[in-house]
């Protein structure tokens, strides 16, 4: 267990997340960082319980599955937040264009 560099793992995982969600990374970084840290803490604890034989190998795998599932949920949410951000930006641009055209025409036509 001592051989696992969890700090490096966190850094690498954050690096991948930053690349994948680059367009809106600034907004989601605190959330991603918090959840990845918590994920790694739990992975450390699972390893500790396995080493102490409090849980067997099958239980360790089941616990890991739960943790991985929770991270998949987090990344899906980040993807959703990104889509909402893009959607909001596009609709704001359309609103600007609509207002500009309406002002130019002098009627509320669009």
């Amino acid at each position: 267990m001592e051989q696992v560099d969890f700090k490096k793992m966190l850094k690498d995982m954050l690096g991948v997340a930053k690349t994948e969600f680059s367009d809106y990374w600034k907004e989601v970084k605190p959330y991603a960082e918090k959840e990845l840290k918590s994920f790694l803490d739990n992975v450390k604890l699972i390893a500790k319980l396995k080493l102490k034989n409090t849980i067997n190998e099958e239980q360790a795998k089941l616990h890991m599955n739960l943790q991985i599932n929770s991270m998949r949920m987090v990344f899906l949410t980040i993807e959703g937040l990104g889509l909402l951000a893009v959607q909001s930006a596009i609709n704001s641009m359309i609103d600007i264009a609509r207002n500009t055209v309406n002002t130019a025409i002098g009627w509320t036509i669009l």
Binding site: Y24, E27, V28, Y31, E35, S38, F39, N42, L45, I46, L49, T54, I55, E58, Q59, L62, H63, N65, L66, Q67, N69, S70, M71, R72, M73, V74, L76, T77, E79, G80, L81, G82, L83, L84, A85, V86, Q87, S88, I90, N91, I94, A97, R98, V101, I105, I109, L110
Partner: protein, 147 residues
């Protein structure tokens, strides 16, 4: 005649812009109050059971919780059907599929007995993270923003 052609062209341009600008772009489903309510109910139910398990560490008590797992499966099926009926809702559909897998895993762990508080805390943490992820997206949809 020339004026008439110009007039028609202008109206065509206005009509085209109208079509272009009159519709909102939708990349992800809108907020759904019933989905949100069902998620909160499921979270409360799960939280209650995980708290009860705190007092029963090391006990072989799976049989007493069979009903809980049956109810959760029914709740998740209801959520899944609703999520599938909503357009552009793939993220929530995927969320629910993962949650189903997590409850199956919890059930397998429960069948083998939860032997320590540390073990239970890891489980609680995974479910908290999952429900926060679900609720965070629902809230963002409700507010229409990203954070």
């Amino acid at each position: 005649m020339k004026k008439l052609v110009l007039f028609k062209k202008r109206w065509l341009l206005v009509l085209s812009l109208g079509i272009l600008f009159s519709c909102k772009v939708t990349l992800i489903s809108e907020y759904d109050e019933i989905t949100d309510k069902k998620i909160t109910e499921l979270q409360e139910k799960t939280s209650t059971v995980l708290s009860q398990l705190e007092d029963e560490i090391g006990k072989d008590n799976y049989e007493n919780y069979k009903k809980f797992y049956q109810e959760v499966r029914a709740d998740l099926n209801t959520l899944e059907i609703r999520a599938n009926a909503i357009d552009k809702n793939q993220i929530t559909i995927n969320h629910i599929a993962i949650l189903k897998s997590s409850y199956d895993t919890l059930e397998s762990l429960h069948k083998q007995k939860i032997n320590s508080l540390e073990e239970l805390n890891i489980i609680k943490s995974a479910f908290n993270t999952s429900f926060i992820a679900l609720v965070k997206l629902q809230m963002a949809k409700k507010q229409g923003k990203t954070n």
